[in-house]
């Protein structure tokens, strides 16, 4: 009797394990639509990127479909959440490629998740347009990988050029301890010399730290002419508040990572006078009518605000641009991924939210330095800096 129970329980266990395994047995049906995959950090630390990206992608796909789709075929978005976790991103891309049979992929939102999924997209020969900023994504060029977010190189250049006009020579930098901050710090350190700028003190802060006065005190002690803070909300807002508290009295530069109205809301009056590089979306209303992007920016910002009843940030624009680029390149391919890739590489002077894109086989980001403008926060809103 005992014996039987034991055998049975062994059997049961095996069956259980098998049952768990056998759960997935559906296969995707071939359909007459173009499926586009999306992988974004919709929740988790980087949700400030992923959430508007997802919304922008959905919005854009809807409007393309409303306009009749591509070559008479409708688009369908299949979007998964990575929670900013590379392993989940790898699972998601595999699901998109193998189960959903997507033609191309937009995302992921962050640099580590993008780096993790790149080999899988390449292996499957599926074009991927990342929404992350990291330089490692397109340098060196991977034939299947593109990106729409402006590189940190350009943001750093914009800041340093501005500093040069103000005669700033000694700076302190304060970067967030994650991939975004690390990439920023590398670029700041790499380019400082070119502009005759010395970094007198470099410090870091944790993404969820509650107080940065210690770091700022240390920077203050080194006597810089300005401080550059490189991070994404909410950390930089705390830095801004702390700097006001410590009466730092020197200009504060932030990165494009805080380029959203949220930053002004969080930092309040301490944000006054803060300088930062941003895509033109934040100041689209202030742009001269001659600006080539003005029309695109206005349309995107107004549609987004209308659809989701929340202010537009630059981040959703990465996905918006990616979908538009895909839509342009999809025409006439008949769903061939190789042709799609070749078409993306041939895109010239595509006016997008983040800038004007010109891809070549050696340039998979496609943006020029004018993708960034410098803005200053004055009276609780953005002002263009010349």
């Amino acid at each position: 009797m005992k014996e039987r129970t034991a055998i049975h329980s062994h059997g049961v266990r095996t069956v259980l394990v098998l049952a768990v395994i056998m759960i997935f047995t559906g296969s995707a049906l071939a359909e007459e639509v173009y499926k586009i995959g999306g992988i974004f950090s919709v929740t988790g630390r980087a949700s400030f990127l992923g959430d508007p990206e997802k919304k922008s992608m959905e919005m854009m796909i809807e409007s393309i479909n409303a306009a009749g789709g591509i070559d008479g075929r409708q688009l369908e978005a299949v979007i998964y959440d990575t929670e900013g976790d590379p392993t989940k991103a790898v699972m998601a891309i595999s699901k998109l490629i193998n189960k959903d049979n997507v033609l191309a992929i937009v995302g992921p939102s962050t640099t580590p998740t993008t780096l993790a999924v790149m080999p899988f997209a390449e292996k499957a020969g599926t074009p991927l347009i990342s929404c992350a900023a990291g330089n490692k994504i397109t340098m060196p060029v991977n034939p299947w990988i593109f990106k729409t977010a402006q590189s940190d190189i350009l943001a750093v250049r914009a800041i340093f050029e501005h500093m040069k006009t103000r005669g700033i020579q000694k700076i302190g930098i304060l970067t967030v301890a994650n991939a975004f901050g690390e990439s920023g710090r590398e670029q700041l350190e790499a380019q400082a010399g070119d502009f005759g700028i010395t970094i007198v003190q470099a410090d870091k802060f944790g993404g969820n730290d509650t107080d940065m006065t210690a770091q700022l005190t240390k920077i203050k002690g080194a006597g810089p002419d300005a401080v550059i803070c490189w991070g994404t909300n909410p950390g930089p807002a705390v830095v801004s508040k702390n700097a006001q508290q410590l009466e730092l009295g020197i200009p504060i530069y932030q990165s494009h990572g805080v380029a959203s109205p949220k930053f002004i809301e969080l930092a309040g009056e301490s944000a006054e006078g803060t300088l930062l590089p941003t895509g033109k979306i934040l100041v689209y209303g202030l742009l001269p009518d001659a600006d080539p992007q003005k029309a695109v920016l206005t349309a995107y910002a107004e549609n987004y605000t209308k659809a989701f009843n929340q202010p537009v940030s630059g981040f959703g624009g990465y996905a918006y641009d990616a979908v538009n680029i895909l839509a342009k390149a999809l025409k006439g391919t008949g769903g061939d991924k190789g042709k799609l890739r070749d078409n993306i590489e041939a895109i010239k002077d595509h006016v997008g939210v983040s800038g004007v894109f010109t891809f070549t086989p050696d340039e998979h980001n496609g943006l020029a330095a004018d993708a960034f403008v410098m803005v200053q926060i004055q009276n609780g809103t953005w002002e263009l800096v010349k």
């Binding site: 329980s9 266990r13 590379p86 595999s94 780096l115 790149m118 080999p119 301890a177 991939a179 690390e182």
Partner: protein, 318 residues
Amino acid sequence: MTPSLKKGVAYALACSAIAGIGLAATNPYHLQVMTFIGINSLLALGLNLLMGYAGQISLGHAAFYGIGAYTTAILTATYGLSPWLSLPMAVAAAALVAFLVGMPTLKLSGYYLGMGTLGFGMIAFIVFREWDGVTGGASGFVGIPPLAVGPLNLSSGRNYFYLVWGVLLVAILVCRRIIDSRTGRALRAIHDSENAARAVGVGTMHLKLQVFVFSAAVAALAGFLYAHYVSFISPGTFDFLMSVRMVTMVVIGGMASIWGAILGASLLTLLPEWLHAFSDLEMVVYGLIMMGVMIVMPQGLTRGILDLYERARERHER
């Protein structure tokens, strides 16, 4: 049937099941999910030996997972070593660290041990993140080569699935043997009553350390498999939350049960995939399921489901 025959049958069944799944699953996505389940099962298996059998909690085990992954990444991608040479070194590195950390830490008990291991895990995570010249820092480490034997590329979907589950089967066999040995009995004895175990002459410190080192080595092995599969690693994969997830796999599956480790790892790997449909509700549902399973089956899924089955059978026989 003798116990050894029974075990033989169970293994034959498991082997053929794995082979069958490998042949039946045509979708690379399914194979990939199964591969991750295999890697996570390996993690849970090693930790289960420590938690379920030796009764020692570790809230920093992701560190060893990371040490395995980073060691092989650095040796193969930076120094061009063959992965098969870096494998023993990755495992040895984790074992050595576990030995050095375990000596003082395992003297702690209960929540203090939890805190000690947690602290170690945090320090390891910070090292992965900040030692950017070597580990690639927060953005991660790219370009880890795939595994291959001669012309056979193991890193393709089906082959890697077989590799991971083959390794897992061997690991299960090894764990079984340890549990059934003098060492394993002594471990279970420590778990039941440390006092009495000491009184019959079981050197508890020594044994705890051995198991700690062993489970760290298993975690490093899993890290090796992960690194060469994904070919990219970043510190976030080996953070505190991963350590907690590992503990959760063990407890949800059922402590002191080898099948429990696999069941727990499967559930925690699959759940997020299923819950995608819930979108923003995902976290809420995930949390509820975790609490629910523990409230209904505090002994873990294996025990809980077996109980359900036996109850149903009794009712049937009556």
